[in-house]
Each structure stands twice: as C-alpha cells, then as structure tokens.
Amino acid sequence: MSIFESIKMAFSSLFAHKLRSILTMLGIIIGVGSVIAVVAIGQGGEAVLKSMFSGEANTIELMYMPSDEEIEADPSILYEDAFTQTDIDMIESIPEIEKVVSSSTESTNVRYQQESTESMVIGINQAYIDVHGLEIAHGRNLVAADFLGGSRAAIVSEEMKDELFEDGEEKDASELLGTVVYMNNQPIEIVGILEAEDNFFGLSMNSAYIPMNTWQTVFADTAITEVSIKANSADELEIAGEKAAAMLNTFHEKDDAYQILNMEEIADGIGKITRIMTIIISSIAGVSLLVGGIGVMNIMLVSVTERTREIGVRMSLGATRGQILFQFLVEAMTLTLIGGLIGMALGSGTALLVSHFAGWQPLVSLPVIVGGILFSMLIGVVFGLLPANKASRLDPIESLRYE
C-alpha cells in the first residue's frame, strides 16, 4: 500500500467527520498560528525598534552625559549647555563626518488669535532636513535661505494645525499658509504643513519646526540639545562618532562627558526583551499545542473504537498490522498537518496585518514555516502513535464481531 493511498484514505475519513476534524484541529491551529504570528511580529518589531534607536538614515547620536565623579567634582557641570554652535562647527571638520544634525527642543505655548496649544517647538539646522527628510503636505519646506537668515518661518504638524484652526469652518489647509502664529509670544509665519504620519507608535506629535537661529532668538537660548552625526559611510559611523566625542571632551576639558549612544547595548537590550516575550508567548502556544495534541489523541482513540469493524474487515482482506498502524498514524498526521497549515496561514495573515498597520516589514521567515510544518506533523506522530498502536493490535475476529 502506497503512502499516497494512505493519505487519500486519511482524507476521506477526516472528511467524513468534518466538524469533528475541524474542532480537533483547533488546538493545533491556535498553537501553530500564534507561534508563527508571535515570532513574525516579534522579529518585525525588533527590527523596527532597533532602527529607531540606531537612528534613521544611518546616524549616530552624541550625548552629553557627565559621569557621577564629574558631577561631584563640579556640580555646575550639569547646567552647562550640552552643545553649542561652536561644537557643531568643530566636529563638522572631522573628515569622516558628512553632516552634523542638530536640534533643540522646547515645549511652549503656541497661540493663534483666541486658540492656543501646548506644543514642541524644535529648532533644526539644514542637515536635519537633509537627513530626516520632513515630508511636506502643503506649502514649502524650510530652505537654505531660512537657515542662513534665521527667518521667522515654521513648518507645523497636522496636529498643531488641527489644534489651532479646527474651530473655524473647515478651511483648506493651503489657506492657512502665511498665517502668523505666536510661539513663546514671538510671531512666526507658517510656511508649510507636514504630512500626517500614521505611525503605529506615534500618533505624530503636536510640533513645529523652525530654523535653529530663529529658535535661539525665540527662546533666548544658545543651547543645542540634540546632536547626531552622519558619516560618509555606514562603516565609518562608529569611528566618526568616537572622534567627535573625543574632540568635544578635549575641547571642553571633560573626561568622558561626551559620548556616543551605544547602539549595540541598546540593540541587545531590545533583543533580550523581544526574546523573552517570544518565549513567554511561545510557551503559551506550546501548551495550546500540547492540549491540541491530546485532543487529536482523544479523537483518534474514539475513531479507532468506532471503526473497530472496519479494522477487522481490513485485516480479513489482508491488511497487515503495520499497515493498520500506518493508516491511523497518517490520519493523525494529516489532521495535525492540515491544522498546522491553517494555523500557519492564519498566523502569517495576522502577522502581515499587524505589520501593515504598524508600518513595519513583515518577517514570516522560511525556517519558521518549515519548522511549523514539521512540528505539526511531529505532533501527529507523537499523539497518533497510541491510538494507531491500539488499532493495529486489535484482534481481527473480535473486531469483525464488534457491534
């Protein structure tokens, strides 16, 4: 008897009890489906988190983080400006560095006529736009002239626009361009409106971008809070960062206050978290698979009892005990394999759906799929063995007489 015959036989007997077969598969479907979904979503999410921390567009962040000793030696160190324009100009001279992105953020009140809102006002330099590429929906982006002249121009987020202008009858966004709003009581003209972001995490923020010079004037503050660098190539990023940190430490006579954000550590940390999550959810899925497997065993035992006569007939027609064992084993395997495939489809579908809405790369990898298929077949073998063995040991005469 060929394996093809056995599989056909298995299908026909599973098909004869459709509802029962599907209910039995449910445990396997849920188990396999959740493993696939969790692993795929987990890996996709991990990739996104890592990319978020390692910065977009291959940038590395410089940080001003005085050590405890330094603070103890001179507490005023905390109140020093983290970065100044001088620092930026200085590290820009490092050969490996292509661009230095700098920005300063202040939370402040933004007012338009009677409406006002609390918002993040971010001062940025030209490189910021070059690297992060702010998407403009209406109006124009900030251009070189704005940065050089320190013009009082702002591009604002969709949210800020809604907060400030939503009361009036629905205005066309482009009509708002040129409107003057007050940020920290200083008049600023809206020249552009950002594209609404539909990020899984961000609900994009109520924020406005203005040139760094303007920001420094508006807030009467020369501090630059965030500096990140873009190297000529990704390989040089680490070196460029270290050189920049060393240069700043020397210049400011600090030991180690200027540092680069250690990406590897963060990536490891994220990896650890997602791994733990994966293990936890996989254990739950494992329990579901175990319960599913026991369900398969139970139904197969019922099936063997129900088909006692059939087994007797088959033996009288020349089926060997091995063939009977094989038939039931294949049936159990077919049951779990179909369950596994359905679970895989549902799990992948869920992963794709979540990834789609979260806006990250779906990661349903081949090893996971192959592993899932093999594993669900293994469950069939493991939990089908007992019933199949029972079937093969039946006495043909007793079986033929079974009512």
Partner: protein, 273 residues
C-alpha cells in the same frame, strides 16, 4: 489443499478451559465445495476462522497448500488472507463510506496493485456478480442481496484459491439466497474451493460434501443426517433448478424429523440438544 490435523481450540473463560473444537481432522481438496453445518455455538465459525488464518488453533497442525500455517509470521498470514483466501460474511462487512467499487478495490490496495489495474479488475469482478451499474453506489444504497454480491466480488477480486463464506445467506431472503448460492456454484465450477457455513440444509445441498460440527467434533453430515435424506434434498434442489423455480429452504429440523421416522436412534441423538 486444506489439511487439518488434531485441531484443538479452547478459550480460557473464568479461569476454566472452554474447549470449542476438540479434535478436528479435515481434508479439503482444491476445487471442492464443502458445507459446514451444525447447531449454534458448535464452533463452525471458529473452524472457519482457523481455516481462513484469522484465528490460530490452540494446538494441532494446519497445512494450507502443503505449508504449515503455524510457521507463518503475522505479515505472511496477512499475505495469505490477501492472496489465497476470500471471505464472505453473513453481515456483508462492506465499509460504509466506500462505494461498491472502492470496497472491491480494498484487497488489491493491500496487494499493492496500481490504481488503474485496480479499477479495471474491480469493475470486472462487479460485472461478474452483475453489479457493474451499481459500482458507484454506497453500501446503504444497495439491497441486502446486492451488498452480498459486492462482498463476493471483493472476495474473488484477488483470485483466491479458497472462498470462505460464513452463513452468506443468513441475512437474506430465500430468493436472494438462491442467487448467492448460484454464484458460489459458478465460482466452484471455475475451480475455486468453496467452504461455507450454514444452518440450512437447502443451502448445504448446493455443496458436494457436507461436514457436521457437533460438540466440537466433526462428523460427516451424511452419517448424521442420513445419506438418503440428503440425497432427497439434492434431487429436490436439482429438479427445482431445472424448473427454475424453487420451494422454501428446508429447515434442518425437518430433515431430522424425516430421518427420525426412518431411524429412531438418530432422532434420539438429536433430542439430546
């Protein structure tokens, strides 16, 4: 050729040996048509199952085609059941979810025959029992007689040398029973050994030879029933065949009553039951 020597079959029931077959000697040549008769519980089915290699005797020797059956292992026994023996049961024993054709295919599946040849041969076998037009029917769409014909087609499809039928007409009405018996007669004429178990003398009368199981022992039916009575039945059956119209099956008890009037001692023996 079937040769049984000193066959004993006993079951352990409640700690005691229940001897079902005491000491069976039986030789059946290739091509014979043998009926096994006897009262209920006398061990007819047990004997059939031993002959069919479904059951093993407690002791004794069984030679099938000159080979000692007890030497066969499990797999070889399955092979013998598949190749050399065709079973026909009282309750038909068709698999309910398979069509007539698929039921007839079963023995060939276990013989490892390919799909195409299987279908061809199954169709031929069904044609032989006159059911080719019903081959895609499920068993519950067939009458009792049709089911038994499918079962016969299934039993002959691997061209076995022996057909074993345990009360093949037991669940059928007289008329249908006759059709089935005609079929066995035909198969026997083609050279197949046919062994059948029956309660009914009318059915047994189709056979060339009848053996009688009583209290686990074997006697020639001729001795028990009386040669004359059996001859009488045979003639009756032959003449009926000529007229193409048969009377009711004669009950075994009636045969005994007849013999009783002939010979009082036989009647006494029967009275002990």
């Amino acid at each position: 050729m079937i040769e049984l020597h000193n066959i004993v079959k006993s079951y352990l029931v409640a700690g005691e040996d229940l001897v079902v077959l005491k000491d069976i000697h039986l030789t059946i040549e290739q091509g014979e048509f043998v009926a096994i008769m006897g009262p209920s519980g006398s061990g007819k089915s047990t004997l059939m199952n031993i002959i069919g290699c479904l059951d093993k005797p407690t002791s004794g020797e069984y030679h099938l085609q000159k080979k000692l059956v007890s030497d066969y292992n499990e797999k070889e026994l399955a092979g013998v059941r598949n190749q050399s023996i065709g079973f026909v049961f009282q309750q038909f024993q068709l698999l309910p979810r398979l069509t007539a054709l698929q039921n007839v295919e079963l023995p060939m599946i276990y013989a490892g025959i390919g799909k195409k040849e299987r279908i061809e041969r199954a169709e031929d076998a069904l044609d032989k029992v006159g059911l080719k037009d019903r081959m895609n029917h499920l068993p519950n769409e067939l009458s009792g007689g049709q089911k038994q014909r499918v079962a016969i087609a299934r039993s002959i499809v691997n061209e076995p040398s022996i057909i074993l039928a345990d009360e093949p007409t037991g669940a059928l009405d007289t008329k249908t029973g006759e059709q089935i018996m005609d079929m066995f007669t035909l198969l026997n004429k083609e050279g197949t050994t046919v062994i059948l178990v029956t309660h009914e003398a009318e059915v047994a009368s189709y056979a060339e030879r009848t053996v009688f199981v009583r209290d686990g022992e074997l006697t020639s039916a001729d001795e028990v029933v009386g040669h004359e009575a059996l001859e009488k039945l045979r003639t009756k059956h032959d003449s009926a065949e000529q007229n193409n119209e048969r009377g009711n099956f004669v009950n075994l008890e009636d045969v005994f009553e007849e013999t009783e009037t002939d010979d009082g001692t036989k009647g006494e023996e029967e009275a002990t039951h």
